[in-house]
């Protein structure tokens, strides 16, 4: 661990080297029917993008470097781990037909916020099951140490609340995945680079120090409105929520200068045993809803950086509403996870025309003003670093002064040293996959 830390310190400013170059065992979750779920006409959320991603991944031959699993559908009971029973019951029984015949109460629709942004569409619960099943499965993989990186592009629906839907998200697969991870891992770090604030996850874990949530998001007159820099957690979770509010047009360089030092410090101070990265692709340049100006490479740099820490990593999807760019981004990030560099000219694939007229992997960022002044970003960074400096340094001191009922007495730091050796993909094993 020591060696990897020291490597990583270099990684904050230099291209990652050392352990970063080693292979990771990557597990990838894909439900072949995910692309057929349809939120409705004009709805920007299109599960179809996950199918395009998968197609691109396979035509880039990335499947050779990973294990690909069809997720089990999460059961209503699984979903009840986090969500309230009445909400789950409603979600599992509602459909456009039942709405049509009005067997469901309008009041419930309102109560669970299944309106407008979150319509009741055909197969809604199946979609939720697939999405949540993937994230839970990914967590199981990491828990069993079957994989170093687990990817579920159908997950990352970070707005869903315990008792209701929000912002295209019905079931919070992230929370469910993290809850599964917590069975084995003492501390889990959640990082959110979606253009929207990861409010559902932050809220779910706002009062615990076993999960630290870090979100980088557009703030100010923007959905969902939370994520103020001074929302830092409460109770024993105080200081365990970090929010980096950003403004329109942030570019790769500015983002990186903020992301890397903060995550670096988080990793040092918090020392998570597992990391969950929500890779919402609406922070990409040219997104239909987002207002950031990140390139695919800049976006993927977050994953690249986290990968270099060699901590069990769950990579999830999220937003992303210009679907061709979402597919580009997630295919590229899959490549980052498996350690392959992709050629810019897209291979012929079943959705080739979606990527016209250039048919390239990377697209030029649009010229747009970066409204994030270096001065502001520096201040934000310093405020967050300062907040981090208030954390007890894990694990040399007991993590929680007054253990709550849900809290487990922390072990001494032995686990950090006795962590299994970095899980390096054995060459023979890898070759046998090919």
């Amino acid at each position: 661990m020591d060696s990897s830390i020291s490597t990583v310190e270099g990684g904050a400013s230099l291209p990652s080297t050392g352990t970063d170059a080693t292979k990771r065992r990557v597990s990838y979750f894909y439900d072949p029917y995910i692309g057929d779920y349809y939120y409705g006409l004009g709805h920007p959320m299109k599960p179809h993008r996950i199918r395009i991603t998968q197609n691109l991944v396979c035509h880039y031959n990335l499947h050779r470097r990973m294990e690909i699993t069809r997720p089990f559908p999460a059961s209503a009971d699984d979903i009840r781990w986090f969500h309230s029973p009445d909400y789950v019951d409603f979600l599992s029984s509602v459909s456009p037909e039942t709405l049509y015949y009005q067997t469901h109460d309008d009041h419930d629709l309102k109560r669970f916020n299944l309106r407008e942004d979150c319509p009741v569409f055909d197969g809604l619960f199946g979609f939720c099951q697939a999405s949540a099943g993937g994230s839970i499965g990914a967590a199981v993989k990491l828990n069993r140490q079957d994989a170093d990186i687990a990817i579920n592009w159908a997950g990352g629906l970070h707005h869903a609340k315990r008792t209701g839907a929000s912002g295209f998200c019905y079931v919070n697969d992230i929370v469910l995945g993290i809850l599964e991870l917590l069975k084995v891992h003492k501390r889990v770090l959640y990082i959110d680079i979606d253009v929207h604030h990861g409010d559902g996850v932050e809220e779910a874990f706002y009062t615990t120090d076993r999960i630290m949530t870090v979100s980088f998001h557009k703030f100010g007159d923007f959905f969902p409105g939370t994520g103020h820099i001074k929302d830092i957690g409460a109770g024993s979770g105080k200081y365990y929520a970090l929010n980096a509010p950003l403004n329109d047009g942030i570019d790769d360089e500015s983002f990186r200068r903020l992301f890397r030092p903060i995550i670096q410090k988080v990793m040092e101070v918090y020392q998570p045993e597992a990391v969950v990265l929500q890779c919402g692709a609406d922070s990409l340049s040219g997104d239909r809803l987002g207002l950031f100006n990140l390139s695919v490479k800049g976006h993927a740099d977050c994953l690249r950086f986290l990968r270099s820490f060699n901590v069990p990593l769950m990579v999830l999807g999220g937003g992303g509403y210009t679907i061709r760019n979402v597919a580009r981004c997630w295919a590229y990030e899959t490549a980052v996870a498996v350690g392959v560099e992709l050629e810019n000219k897209l291979p012929y694939n079943d959705y080739y025309e979606y990527f016209g007229p250039d048919y390239t992997l990377h697209v030029e960022p649009i010229p747009m003003e970066n409204k994030n002044l270096p001065r502001d970003l520096e201040k934000i960074r310093n405020m967050l670093l300062e907040q981090l400096s208030r954390l007890p340094h894990a694990p040399s001191v007991p993590f929680q002064m007054a253990p709550s009922i849900t809290e487990v007495p922390e072990e001494r730091e032995e686990d950090m040293d006795q962590r299994p050796k970095p899980r390096i993909w054995i060459k023979e094993e890898y070759e046998s996959y090919c």
């Binding site: 690909i68 781990w81 012929y348 080739y352 649009i366 502001d376």
Partner: protein, 649 residues
């Protein structure tokens, strides 16, 4: 009173000037002289608040302030005692060694001189304005109204009582006690304030140990939150443990509070009355005392039941809503104060406050910069366990939506103008910059706390992890061994490989060209993926979906979709029509055709038309693009005018 200024954060609600607030106060005070006295005493007590308490001489003996006050008064007042050198006598009469005279003088100056001035300013005719400002204080008490003095006595007596109590718990006990009581009279009120002030001292002491803390006390919920101290408790009993050591620290420590914030919040409505460095908030049901002491960064909020101010506060709240309301009137320039007699209440309050401000400015100005640097993160404050609201004093307006709380209104202003909103931002140095900064604006939405919002965290066990293997899902890739052997024969592209730069097609980039290469590529992939190809439904994606559709159906589909105006209005959706026209096709099948064939073809045509006005991602509705899409201004190699009209079929 130079330096009054408007808040500049753009919030109309809070952008009025302190004098107006004072006016409000005054008008209310006129209604009830009792109230005024209460207020006055409160403010007077404010002087004492940031002094170590109880006062002690060098030898550790505590000083009875009331007695000291009486003795000095009997000798003719502070000035007389000074000029006559009577301090030794005073010391004796107060029960000290005569050598303690000078020490007592110091105590008097520190603790009682401001009171003298306050009294004086009430009594002296207005034509001698300077005397009010004079630091040396009062020269006589002849005209001090007896009732006021009696109240004062109560206050001071209370203070002396206070010191006899258990040092660790005294203040808390007091506040608890006060809470239980249904205090009606103003004397009680005074006690209350004294108690709170004492509490503040304790806070400060803790601060002195470089610990950040603040207390939020909600009477009804009996919830005690220790801010910034990593402890948050929902308990019925209040446990505030302070070592007596702290208290002693407080006694001996130097006066170093540079900024004080005192607030009295009422539950129903609030008025924030900023007193240079201090804020007094007045509201309806609850009175809280909040104090954030700059150097120490602490704060404490206490709430008390108080019904009697309800009417007044409603009025104040109204003002808070609209500071420009003509009903409020204007406060006169200071130069015109003279024309008003001292019986005008607003004037009394202003003069008194000015005294306080002057005094504080003298010995706190140097501390301020330190505070500015030290205070970085304002501690957040949780109000109660209603679970859905986090309050910060300047934020309550915005949290009014919470039904569990009555409407809160707020008014804040600043006397000096330069330290506008310590509650909101990190420090005064940053205030000018950060207050208006988009990312540090006031929160509009708060994180909800409560069991209905947070997830239950499973216990971490050191056991061997067992999981239902079904939760792992079904592994599709890599294929099992039998199937793998087959693959060794094929020539494979390396992972990450893109397409060739050139091809031998007659019209590179044409539909036919692409279809040809895609076919070639798909065959490779299909061969390599084996059964996974079908598991992933690669056989029914892209153009291949069209194979299961008749030409006729395809034409119908295209016609229906194209005939529908692209509109955000759902009622124009072509889906109902599609379902009607294709009763035998499932929803999945239609959606699949839409994404895999229809959109793909349309995109193909767009790619070859070089049309600037087509958004390459307007997959369905008329939701327009946010930006001009990239790549459009460039002519792709694959696009040439002669191919623009090539039919996809």
């Amino acid at each position: 009173m130079a330096g009054w200024s408007k808040r500049v954060d753009g919030s109309g609600l809070e952008s009025y000037r302190e004098p107006e607030i004072v006016t409000i106060l005054d008008k209310q005070l006129l209604v009830s002289n009792e109230d005024f006295k209460t207020k006055l005493l409160t403010v007077v007590n404010g002087f004492l608040r940031f002094r170590p308490f109880p006062p002690m001489l060098g030898d550790g003996k505590t000083v009875d302030l009331w007695k000291l006050y009486l003795v000095v008064r009997e000798k003719g007042g502070y000035d007389r005692v000074c000029s006559s050198g009577y301090w030794g006598v005073v010391a004796k009469e107060c029960g000290f060694d005569s050598t303690s005279g000078l020490a007592l003088k110091l105590v008097y100056v520190k603790y009682l001189a401001a009171l003298d001035r306050a009294m004086l300013s009430l009594e002296q005719p207005d034509n001698n304005e300077k005397s009010e400002v004079r630091k040396s204080g009062a020269s006589g008490f002849s005209g001090v109204r007896m009732d006021l003095e009696l109240d004062l006595k109560e206050v001071l007596m209370k203070i002396s009582d206070e010191k006899k109590k258990d040092k660790v718990y005294a203040n808390i006990d007091l506040s608890n006690g006060v809470e239980v009581q249904d205090f009606v009279g103003l004397v009680r009120c005074s006690e209350n304030f004294v108690g709170k002030q004492s509490l503040d001292h304790n806070d400060c002491d803790v601060k002195g140990m470089d610990e950040r803390m603040s207390v939020v006390y909600d009477e009804e919920d009996s919830k005690f939150v220790k801010r910034n101290g990593d402890i948050q408790r929902d308990t019925d009993d209040i446990r505030l443990t302070k070592s007596s050591e702290d208290e002693e620290d407080g006694i001996t420590r130097k006066r170093k509070y540079s900024d004080e914030r005192m607030s009295v919040d009422y539950d129903d409505e609030q008025l924030n009355f900023v007193n240079r460095n201090g804020v007094v908030q007045c509201g309806g049901d609850d009175i809280g005392l909040k104090k954030s002491s700059g150097d120490e960064e602490d704060g404490s909020t206490r709430k008390r039941k108080r019904e009697s101010y309800l009417g007044m506060l409603k009025w104040v709240a109204q003002l808070a809503k609209d500071p420009c309301d003509p009903a409020i009137g204007h406060l006169l320039e200071r130069s015109k104060w003279k024309s008003y007699g001292n019986d005008v209440v607003w004037k009394k309050v202003l003069l008194l406050r000015k005294e306080m401000v002057l005094e504080r400015n003298v010995d706190t100005s140097t501390q301020y910069s330190i505070w500015q640097h030290k205070q970085k993160m304002h501690p957040s404050m949780y109000d109660d366990n209603s679970g859905s609201e986090r309050l910060r004093c300047s934020q309550r307006v915005l949290s009014a939506k919470d039904s569990s709380k009555k409407t809160r209104l707020l008014s804040t202003t600043s006397l000096s103008g330069s330290h506008i909103s310590e509650t909101l931002i990190d420090g005064p140095t940053d205030s000018s910059v950060e207050l208006g900064v988009w990312w540090n604006r006031r929160r509009k939405k708060l994180v909800s706390i409560g069991s209905e919002f947070q997830a239950e965290i499973p216990e971490w066990k050191n056991d061997i992890y067992e999981s239902d293997s079904k939760r792992l899902g079904t592994r599709i890739w890599p294929l099992d061994k039998n199937e793998q052997n087959r693959m060794l024969l094929i020539e494979r592209d390396p992972a990450g490989k893109g397409r060739q730069d050139t091809c031998g097609c007659e019209y590179p980039g044409s539909f036919d060209c692409i279809r040809f290469h895609l076919f070639e590529k798909t065959r490779k992939v299909k061969y390599e993926l084996g059964s996974a190809f079908y598991h992933w439904k690669f056989d029914c994606i892209g153009e291949k979906v069209a194979l299961s559709w008749t030409e006729e159906d395809q034409q119908k589909f295209h016609d229906i979709v194209k005939s529908s105006p692209l509109s955000e209005d759902e009622s124009f959706s072509y889906w109902p029509e599609l379902f009607k026209v294709f009763p035998h096709k499932s929803r999945e099948s239609l959606v699949s055709y839409y994404f895999n064939v229809f959109l793909l073809r349309r995109r193909g045509q767009q790619n070859r038309m070089n049309a600037i006005d087509i958004d390459s991602d307007d997959d369905d509705s008329g939701c327009g693009p946010r930006f001009i899409c990239f790549g459009r201004d460039k002519f792709s190699i694959l696009c040439s005018p002669k191919k623009a009209h090539l039919d996809p079929k």
